[in-house]
């Protein structure tokens, strides 16, 4: 993987801002878009635009073909056994709400238990809070070890015969990796032993790790295209085939009906059953193009090594400044990380990121949609620098240099 060549495939880095380098360190929020993705969306709108599934004229047939090809591509990308296991949604958040509304709320009752971790993004916590409130089910938590920032091996009775769902973050958007070797696999195994289903929130991980739903043995998986160089507004929900009957339609309406009367209706089989209304056609095709981009240009092992190298430089650079607390397991970050959230003593995270922004460095500030975790580790807001395939050593050099300088000038002001 030649990083220079990869970087050239992202038009945004070609300059425009007076030739000034764009130091983009916020890919954990959203990645930049690859040229293949932009071209595919542009081509569809300019040459192939039509609705899908219903039209029998050539343009619509072609659009349908491209749309369904994207489903095949995504299915293959995460090694789903069958393309019908892929449902297109607006992204990870909708995918998880989908499972909460269309499956959990239909089947859960008082006494049932839902297990999540203390490191969940709001998207994989709030839907389960609502399911718990509305069904009487109980939320239980796999704890974060506040020294190592890894998840603790849960006590034996945490996952028990009452557990109906174990819904887990794969990679944290604040702490990075939170799973010690083998623990995720062990938790999934324990869930299945008691008959619980498993959802994996891959919002962050899809862009950095080879995902294999069959090897992981998960029942549901949620992800977004925009974290992996694809368009915004589209993502996927993997629903394992044996759940296709138990999961109800999330929405009802056009496209998903088999037969409708005035009083009743029944549905088409999956995945049509799960996709009501005109879908985000261009975005889905763009999602397919993002998968093509990965297949053609990205080697996950090389990507991992590239990111880890930069992350080690980032961690060392931040530590060299002094007065900075990094959240997360630094040792792990240097071996396999791609982001670092940190707090600068005496300067609010908003000021840090706004001042970095003025100096041409894009980082994220805030609680990163993990308020309970932020409270747990006693941090109000943090700044986060996140890395991706197109970042180079120079990006970190600029960040560290500007950060060092702004801390100095801020304290002197």
């Amino acid at each position: 993987m030649d990083i220079k060549k990869i970087r050239e495939k992202f038009p945004i880095f070609k300059g425009g801002d007076g030739g000034k380098r764009l130091v983009y360190l916020d890919s954990a929020a959203t990645s930049q878009r690859a040229d293949m993705v932009i071209d595919s969306v542009h081509d569809f709108y300019s040459r192939g635009n039509a609705s899908v599934h219903r039209g029998v004229y050539e343009l619509s047939e072609r659009a349908t073909g491209l749309y369904e090809q994207a489903r095949h591509k995504v299915a293959k990308f995460i090694n789903a056994a069958d393309p019908s296991e892929i449902v297109f949604t607006s992204g990870t958040t909708e995918s998880i709400n989908f499972v909460a509304d269309a499956w959990a709320r239909e089947h859960f009752k008082e006494g049932d238990e839902i297990v999540v971790t203390q490191a969940e993004h709001h998207a994989n916590l709030l839907p389960w809070q609502r399911v718990a409130q509305r069904t009487g089910a109980k939320l239980r938590f796999i704890e974060v070890d506040q020294e190592t920032f890894f998840l603790k091996d849960p006590p034996k009775d945490l996952i028990n015969k009452n557990t109906k769902l174990v819904s887990l973050i794969h990679i944290s958007n604040v702490l990075g990796n939170v799973w010690e070797e083998g623990l995720l696999e062990s938790v999934i195994k324990r869930a299945h032993e008691v008959g619980a289903r498993v959802l994996l929130d891959c919002a962050q991980s899809i862009a950095h790790k080879k995902i294999d739903v069959q090897a992981l043995g998960v029942d549901f998986l949620a992800c977004s295209a925009h974290k992996m160089c694809g368009p915004t507004g589209v993502g996927a929900l993997y629903i394992k085939k044996d759940l296709h009957d138990a999961v109800e339609p999330y929405q009802v309406g056009g496209s998903m009906v088999h037969d409708a009367e005035y009083e009743t209706a029944n549905w088409q089989p999956a995945p049509m059953k799960f996709e009501a209304g005109t879908p985000a056609i261009a975005q889905v095709i763009g999602f397919g193009a993002a998968v093509d981009f990965f297949n053609e240009h990205v080697d996950f092992v090389e990507l991992h090594n590239h990111e880890a190298k930069l992350c080690a430089q980032l961690v060392d650079g931040l530590n060299s400044i002094g007065g900075i607390t990094i959240l997360g397991n630094q040792c792990d970050m240097k071996m396999c990380g791609h982001l670092a959230a940190f707090v600068v003593d005496g300067i609010h995270a908003h000021d840090v990121s706004a001042m970095l922004g003025m100096r041409g460095v894009g980082v994220r500030a805030g609680h990163h949609c993990v308020q309970p975790l932020a409270k747990l580790i006693g941090v109000e807001a943090s700044t986060r620098a996140s890395l991706y395939m197109y970042n180079e050593s120079e990006d970190i050099e600029v960040l560290v240099r500007e950060l060092r300088d702004l801390i100095k000038t801020f304290k002197e002001a």
């Binding site: 609010h348 908003h350 000021d351 001042m355 109000e380 807001a381 000038t409 002197e412 002001a413």
Partner: protein, 124 residues
């Protein structure tokens, strides 16, 4: 050079906040937080004959939210509550003397929103 981003006056209000006290025997108060970043601003004060006689703020947050609160208390002292309620986003932006994007604007407006909330509650 106080980082180019923040004007000298803004940094001065951040480092030496004015009216950062809880007013004793206040007759209006309110508090607000910005869920995006955890900034918290609370306001207390005394209104007599429709005029802000005393005003103070407390809270924690970034330079923009705290300096904005400090500057706002100076600006509003002695103003009629009608005039205070008439203050808008544009007045705060002019007061801070800097361009703010939509995200950062929330920090800047937190104190004005808290103040408006407190005065409206007092009126009732």
């Amino acid at each position: 050079m106080a980082d180019q981003f923040y004007q000298k006056v803004l940094m001065d209000h951040f480092k030496n906040p004015r009216n950062k006290v809880k007013i004793e025997n206040y007759n209006f108060e309110s508090g607000l937080d910005n869920p995006a970043c955890g900034d918290i601003i609370s306001m207390t004060g005394i209104i007599e004959d429709g005029v802000v006689k005393k005003i103070g703020f407390e809270g924690s947050g970034c330079v923009v939210s705290l300096a904005s609160a400090s500057m706002l208390t100076e600006k509003c002292l002695g103003m009629s509550i009608d005039s205070v309620l008439a203050l808008t986003k544009d007045d705060v932006v002019a007061m801070l003397g800097m361009e703010l994007g939509p995200n950062r604007l929330q920090c800047a407006l937190l104190s004005l929103e808290a103040l408006h909330k407190g005065i409206l509650a007092y009126r009732k």
